[in-house]
C-alpha cells in the first residue's frame, strides 16, 4: 500500500499508534535521539536544544521533568479524559512519597521504615495512593466542577496536617527525612545490583548517576505513557470520555458513572503516587510542604498548556512547565551578556535589560522586588501565568492544538485554504 497512507486493509493496521512508515521512522529516530542525548557525541551536538539537554545540570532537570510527566499523565486520566477537576493531585503524590519512605526507608529511633527494596516500594507507592483514591472517590464523585475542585483542594491540607501528626513517616518538622535511593536490590542485601543514584560503569562506558536515572525514568515514562494511551483508546477510556462529555447520557448508554469515576480516581492516584515516590527519592529529602496546592496547580497548568485530553499534550505541557524556568534564566543571562558586551545589537538588549536603578530597561537582573522593572527571577512565573491565560482564551487545545493547526496547514500546502 505504498503511497496511500490513509488506506487501511485491516482494523488492526488502523489502530496502530504509529500507522504510517513515516511515523514509524520518526518514532525510531526520536527514540534514538532520546537514548543518545545524555552522551557527549558529535551527532547529538548538531541537534538544537537536544545539544545541551544532555549536559549534567540540564539532565537533572530532564529527570525531574520525566518524573513530572508521570504525575501529569495521572492528572490527564482524571481531568483530561474523565473531565474531573482535581486540585488534590499533589496530595496523592505525597501519599506515594510517604508510602515509599515507610516501605523503603531506614528505621531509626523516631522514624518508621521497613527497608524494603525499590521493586516493593515503588509499586506500593502507586497502589496505596490508588487505594486512598478509591476511599476518597465516594465523596468526590457526588460533586462536579468547581465543587469537586474545592473538595480535592481540602485533601492538600488534610495531607499536610497528617504529615504533622505522623512525623515518624514524613520526617520531623519541615525538614523531611532521607528517602530510599533509586537502586534495585533483590532483597535487603548490602549492595544493589542496579544503582541509579551513584556514578558507575555500564558495559564499557562511564555513566553518571543522572544518566543512569535518565534511562530508568525514560523507560518508566514510555511504559506508563503507553498504558495511558491504551486506556484512552479502549473500553475504559471511552467510558471516561463519555462521562466527561455528557455524564447523564453516558449512564443511559450503560456506563456506571460511580464506578468509572472511582476508576479514574484510582488510576490517576496510582500515577501520582509513583511520581511522588520517584520525586522524593530523586531529590533525596523533601519537606511535607512539597505536596502543596502549588504543585497541584502546576500539574493542571501542564495539562492546560499542553492540551487537555491528549497524551502528547502532557509531554509538551510538562516540558514547558518544568523547563521554562531554566530557559528563561538562560535567555535573560544571555541577553544580559549581550547588553554588557559591545556587539552589534547590544543597545537593543540594553533597551530590555535593566542592570541597575535608573536604567530604563523592562527586565531587571539586579532587583528581586516585584514592580517595574520586572525582576528576572519572577519572569518565568509571569510568562507562565500569562501563557495560561492566553491558552485558555485563544487556544483551549493548548500546544497540541497549535501543532494540529500547523500540521494541517502543511498537509494542505500550497493549497492551505
Amino acid at each position: 500500500m505504498r503511497g496511500r497512507p490513509n488506506l487501511y486493509t485491516s482494523y488492526e493496521a488502523e489502530t496502530q499508534l504509529f500507522p504510517t512508515t513515516t511515523k514509524k521512522v520518526l518514532l525510531g529516530v526520536g527514540l534514538l535521539v532520546l537514548v543518545l542525548m545524555p552522551f557527549d557525541l558529535w551527532v547529538v551536538d548538531q541537534i538544537p536544544v537536544v545539544r545541551f539537554l544532555g549536559d549534567s545540570i540540564w539532565l537533572r532537570l530532564v529527570n525531574k521533568m520525566l518524573i513530572f510527566i508521570i504525575g501529569a499523565l495521572g492528572l490527564h486520566l482524571l481531568s483530561g479524559l474523565a473531565g474531573q477537576l482535581s486540585l488534590g493531585h499533589s496530595f496523592f503524590g505525597g501519599v506515594g512519597a510517604c508510602t515509599a519512605v515507610l516501605v523503603g526507608g531506614k528505621a531509626s529511633t523516631n522514624l518508621w521504615g521497613w527497608g524494603m527494596p525499590m521493586w516493593v516500594w515503588l509499586p506500593a507507592a502507586g497502589v496505596v495512593a490508588a487505594l486512598i483514591g478509591v476511599a476518597i472517590a465516594p465523596t468526590a464523585v457526588r460533586v462536579r466542577g468547581l465543587y469537586l475542585g474545592i473538595v480535592t483542594l481540602g485533601l492538600v491540607f488534610i495531607g499536610l496536617h497528617l504529615s504533622r501528626v505522623f512525623p515518624e513517616i514524613a520526617g520531623p518538622g519541615d525538614l523531611g527525612r532521607k528517602w530510599p535511593r533509586l537502586e534495585l536490590r533483590f532483597w535487603k542485601e548490602e549492595d544493589p545490583f542496579l544503582d541509579f543514584s551513584r556514578d558507575g560503569h555500564w558495559f564499557w562506558f562511564d555513566v553518571s548517576k543522572h544518566q543512569k536515572t535518565y534511562f530508568f525514568l525514560l523507560l518508566l515514562v514510555i511504559l506508563m505513557a503507553w498504558w495511558a494511551v491504551n486506556l484512552g483508546r479502549t473500553r475504559t477510556g471511552r467510558a471516561l470520555a463519555a462521562i466527561r462529555d455528557r455524564d447523564i447520557a453516558a449512564e443511559i448508554m450503560g456506563v456506571p458513572e460511580f464506578r468509572y469515576k472511582t476508576t479514574a480516581f484510582a488510576l490517576s492516584s496510582f500515577y501520582a503516587g509513583i511520581s511522588g515516590a520517584l520525586f522524593a527519592s530523586f531529590v533525596g529529602q523533601v519537606p511535607p510542604e512539597q505536596w502543596s496546592l502549588r504543585a497541584s496547580v502546576t500539574f493542571l497548568a501542564a495539562l492546560l498548556i499542553g492540551g487537555m485530553g491528549r497524551v502528547s499534550g502532557v509531554f509538551m505541557g510538562s516540558f514547558f512547565v518544568v523547563m521554562s524556568h531554566r530557559f528563561v534564566e538562560e535567555i535573560v543571562d544571555w541577553a544580559k551578556h549581550q547588553a554588557e558586551g559591545e556587539g552589534l545589537f547590544s543597545s537593543v538588549f540594553d533597551f530590555f535589560i535593566s542592570r541597575g536603578s535608573g536604567d530604563g530597561g523592562l527586565i531587571s537582573v539586579a532587583q528581586t522586588a516585584l514592580g517595574y522593572p520586572l525582576p528576572a527571577s519572577a519572569l518565568d512565573e509571569i510568562i507562565y501565568g500569562a501563557l495560561i491565560v492566553i491558552f485558555l482564551l485563544f487556544e483551549p487545545l493548548g500546544m497540541y492544538g497549535i501543532w494540529i493547526k500547523v500540521r494541517n496547514y502543511w498537509k494542505g500546502w500550497p493549497f492551505s485554504y
Binding site: Y11, T234, R235, R246, A249, M253, G254, V255
Partner: protein
C-alpha cells in the same frame, strides 16, 4: 372474527408500564399512564408540547423515578434500577436534543454504544496486547455493520460535533443500535429535518424493525410519519393518557382532536 395481531402480541409484553405517575414538587408531569409494548411492535407516543412524552422515556430509562406505578421489563420490575442497569437489560434510546459525546469521533461514539456488550477491564485495556485488542477488533466489526446500515461511512473519523445535524441524529440512532437493544426508544428522530431526511429516517426505522427485529417506542411530532409507520399510538395531553389504538382510530378520536386543535374542533368532530 380473527384476533387482532397486535392484541395477541401483548400477552407476553416486552415492556409493561402500569399506572405510572411522576411529579416534580407540585408539577404533575405524568398522571396514571399505562401501556404495553409487544415484541416487534412499533409503538408511538404523541401529544402536544409538554404532554409528558419525554418524561415517560426518562421514567423508562430510570433517569426520573415515578412516584407511583410500576414499569416491568419482560415481567420483572425495573423500578429503582440505575440507568446503566436498564441499558444492560436491552433498552436503548436516542434523545430529543442530540446527546452525542461531542469530543469523540463517530467511531468512538458507536464503540461507546458497545460498552455494555464488552467486558474487558481497565487492566486489560492498559496492556492492550491480547484480550483487549481482540475485543476492540470484534466490536469494531460490529460497529462497521451499523455504519454500513446507516450509510455514514464518510463520517467515520470525524468528531461528531462537526457533523451536520441530520447525520448527528443518524449517529445517535447508530449508537443506540450498537447496544444490541431489544427495545429502542426514539425521541423525535426526525425533529427539524426536511422531507428527504425524514424519508431516510423512516426507511431506517422500518429497516430496523424488518431486518433487526427490534421493538420501538417512537415519540414524534411529525404526524404524517407516525400515522404511516406506527402499529399503535398512545396520545398524551397534560400528562394524561387520552387515547390509545391503531393510528386510524386515534386520528378520529374527538379527545385527540380537541387536544390538538382545541375544544370546539373536538366537539364539532364529536357531533358530526
Amino acid at each position: 372474527m380473527s384476533p387482532d395481531p397486535t392484541e395477541r402480541r401483548l400477552d407476553d409484553a416486552l415492556l409493561d408500564v402500569e399506572g405510572i405517575s411522576l411529579s416534580f414538587k407540585g408539577v404533575k408531569a405524568i398522571t396514571d399512564v399505562s401501556f404495553r409494548v409487544g415484541q416487534g411492535e412499533l409503538f408511538a407516543i404523541i401529544g402536544p408540547n409538554g404532554a409528558g412524552k419525554t418524561s415517560i422515556f426518562n421514567s423508562i430509562s430510570q433517569v426520573y423515578r415515578p412516584q407511583e406505578g410500576d414499569i416491568r421489563w419482560k415481567g420483572t420490575s425495573i423500578m429503582g434500577s440505575r440507568p446503566d442497569r436498564v441499558a444492560e437489560l436491552g433498552i436503548a434510546r436516542t434523545f430529543q436534543n442530540i446527546e452525542l459525546f461531542p469530543h469523540m469521533t463517530v467511531l468512538e461514539n458507536l464503540l461507546l454504544g458497545r460498552h455494555i456488550r464488552m467486558q474487558r477491564s481497565w487492566l486489560a485495556g492498559a496492556l492492550w496486547v491480547g484480550p483487549a485488542k481482540r475485543e476492540e477488533m470484534a466490536n469494531r466489526r460490529a460497529v462497521e455493520d451499523i455504519i454500513d446500515f446507516l450509510e455514514i461511512e464518510q463520517w467515520r473519523k470525524h468528531p461528531v460535533a462537526l457533523l451536520p445535524y441530520g447525520f448527528q441524529k443518524r449517529v445517535e440512532l447508530g449508537r443506540a443500535l450498537a447496544m444490541d437493544p431489544e427495545l429502542l426508544l426514539l425521541d423525535e428522530p426526525v425533529a427539524g429535518m426536511n422531507l428527504e431526511e425524514t424519508e431516510d429516517m423512516a426507511r431506517f426505522i422500518l429497516d430496523i424493525r424488518e431486518e433487526l427485529g427490534i421493538s420501538m417506542i417512537l415519540v414524534e411530532h411529525d404526524m404524517g410519519l407516525v400515522m404511516d409507520i406506527a402499529d399503535r399510538v398512545l396520545v398524551l395531553d397534560f400528562g394524561q393518557k387520552i387515547s390509545e389504538g391503531v393510528p386510524a382510530d386515534v386520528q378520529r378520536d374527538p379527545a385527540v382532536i380537541a387536544a390538538y386543535l382545541g375544544d370546539e374542533a373536538g366537539l364539532a368532530a364529536a357531533g358530526s
